[in-house]
Symmetry: C2
Subunit: 211 residues, 2 copies
């Protein structure tokens, strides 16, 4: 099946949103936790977290601050400079998805969605207690993406929490064993099953293409 | 287990790379196809493709142009303005992974890695024939991420190819049925299994948190 740019422009809006949100492949399922200086907490499901660097450890995520309920998240990050990234697991997919409803700013999605605020290491922003892997980050950059008025928020890792047995001696995590969740489109959720692992690729070590 | 920023700085470099590349969750497995004006093709595995917008349809991906073999990809995109995004499937994970080896610029990873160039709709950049879902994009923006000298390349969708039966009437794709692949860290590959699907979330439709 072939769809041109024009075909996609002519597609019904909701169908187009579903399709175009799916074609980049699987996306990580995370919740972004923030708290205003007044103490109002906010929790937003975000499928656009991306790794930017390991030393220092930087991560980014995409948002559209003018158009979405997630602007409360953005306002809190601008105001306080801190946010958390929390993995979504199979046990609370429904609650994580519900954070995308358009709650009023005075409502905390933690309470409304049945998830628990957790404060650790004197960090300002709330972690999600139910999450097995969580990162506390300091905002270091906000990049405007001019073509469509989205932004990328860039944070530096300050704190990392993970289960004691999650990391092996090489630094590998098995996301499947952690019941970690992937997202496709706007509202489809996937479990993960590790099937292959390869060494660092070297030109001289050709794989067996015939297998 | 708790790791501070300092703990992570003090971790062995390779272990840190593995860990920090894993903690943002599952990443989409894609190959970026390009061709120089001289006809030299290039293919690079990229796990940082992110959706930026649906109308127009924009996608971005992250690279570190100064430090990597992937700079050939970047040079081709700067020179020609076009690139392709091609999904990785379970049938060719090993070949896709091998594109990350440091091949000389005069070597095409298509040939070296046993994957097939495909040209469609008069588009300059090569698609991967073995891939079931592929996108042809025009470069529209290159964003410098100043904190660590990475960049985000932003492209606009011009062409989309997908299997005839992949999309349902609502625009949903089942990435699991397509044998689509997710990546964790630098070299772990996952299959995907769709387990949940929810309607657009509304404040008034509280899920059953007790299930």
């Amino acid at each position: 099946m072939y769809l041109s740019k024009q075909d996609i422009e002519n597609t019904d809006r909701v169908k187009r949103l579903n399709l175009i949100n799916s074609v980049s492949g699987i996306k990580p399922g995370n919740l972004i936790g923030t708290k205003s200086n007044n103490g109002q907490t906010n929790l937003a499901i975000i499928s656009s977290v991306v790794h930017l660097g390991s030393n220092p450890a930087y991560f980014g995520f995409i948002m559209r601050p003018q158009k979405e309920v997630r602007r409360h998240t953005y306002e809190n990050i601008l105001e306080t400079g801190h946010f958390t990234i929390n993995h979504i697991h199979t046990s609370f997919i429904d609650r994580a998805h519900y954070t995308s409803a358009k709650f009023d700013k005075s409502v905390s999605e933690f309470e409304a969605c049945g998830l628990t605020e957790e404060y650790k290491e004197d960090f300002h922003a709330p972690f999600v207690q139910e999450s097995l892997l969580k990162i506390g980050l300091k905002r270091v950059e906000v990049l405007p993406i001019r073509v469509n008025d989205t932004i990328m928020v860039v944070g530096q890792l300050e704190h990392l929490f993970l289960p004691d047995d999650a990391m092996d001696a090489r630094g590998y995590l098995d996301l499947g064993n952690m019941d970690n969740v992937g997202i496709s489109g706007l509202n489809s959720y996937y479990t993960l099953n590790k099937v292959d692992e390869f060494p660092y690729a070297r030109v001289t070590e050709t794989p067996d293409f015939s297998r």
